[in-house]
Symmetry: C2
Subunit: 207 residues, 2 copies
């Protein structure tokens, strides 16, 4: 069903706006808008203004380039975190994923993408210079590379590794291996191979 | 993944607001909010204000109770439409569905629901009195019942039929039968049975 006929241009407008969002078709859009119509005027104002305010007032942390309400984000300004360890990620979603594990207490560095010549993204488009400067100027002892295991991820890993190598710090990458709950039978060969090469002491595997 | 850790309360706010919408989980919500962040400030303002304005300024047509920008909706105030035929539907989505067929040129009457004792919805909660008044006062010659084929739909159909019967107008219901493109083999017995009872002249079936 295509939705061509609206009895109200206000409704049509709202549905068109929602349908611009990725993955929201016109039927879903209509459903969402009709839901909003059932809410109180106040609630809809809160909804609309949350988006407008976010876009207007959002800042990017000048240290790690993560999204932030202030010049320096909550994570970078938290003194109980380990400021000597920096985890390099592609985007802010990755920061959230890692934060949700509650296993990492260091800081982040958001590259804003990965090197991808096909998409015209080179090292100069990413926050790599600022990473090198940060590691040079501040007391960083370990950089953890946490990029995707794709060709582009590996290229970026290698590029950054070469830039940081002269600085004489520890550079690590997150472990690749069989996901917890996965069966060996269905794991791909490369992953299984790496998981054997990078095996850990039995007692460490429960840490 | 639950998203617990946000580096920005503005972002957290926006994600929470989006996640209140039906069928939008926290991951989808985050994806949509990050998409909005990439748009221009103007575009996000247009988006937010479309929702706020809709909720603030929306009216319901005083004739057919469809959603409208004005006291009387586009359809009811269109003089090229057939004002003698009124199609009774459950909600405004049904109006849109029928409008999209481009097969109906009459007016509508939106009940605002169907009789459903289980949900505490009785005839007095619906726009039934106003339908009876409309048919009594205006020059309506045919009322087409276009409700769902559920128990509640049938109850509502019957209730309205009894109310309208004394007014001496034509009362019809939309045809039930095998959907176009469906195979007989997979049709349910009740529908197939009705489609045989309510068969139409061969030449009419192409109209």
């Amino acid at each position: 069903m295509s939705i061509q006929q609206f009895s109200s241009s206000l409704l049509e407008n709202a549905v068109n706006e929602f349908a611009k969002l990725p993955g929201i078709g016109r039927k879903t859009s209509l459903r969402l808008v009709l839901h909003l119509l059932k809410q109180t005027e106040h609630d809809v104002e809160v909804f609309g203004n949350a988006m407008i305010q976010l876009r207007k007032e959002i800042l990017y942390c000048k240290v790690c380039h993560n999204i932030s309400d202030t010049d320096v984000c909550r994570i970078c300004s938290n003194h109980s975190r380990d400021h000597e360890t920096v985890c390099v990620v592609e985007n802010i979603k990755d920061v959230m994923s890692i934060e949700n594990t509650q296993q990492f207490k260091g800081l982040y560095h958001v590259l804003g993408g990965i090197i991808s010549p096909m998409d015209g993204i080179g090292p100069s488009n990413l926050e790599i210079e600022s990473l090198v400067k940060r590691v040079t100027d501040e007391n960083v002892k370990e950089v953890i590379m946490a990029l995707s295991t794709t060709m582009e991820g590996d290229t970026t890993n290698f590029y950054i590794f070469r830039k940081l190598a002269p600085l004489n710090i520890k550079i690590t990458t997150i472990a690749r291996g069989i996901a917890i709950g996965d069966e060996l039978e269905y794991a791909d060969e490369v992953t299984l191979g790496r998981s054997i090469l990078n095996r850990v002491e039995f007692t460490n595997s429960f840490k």
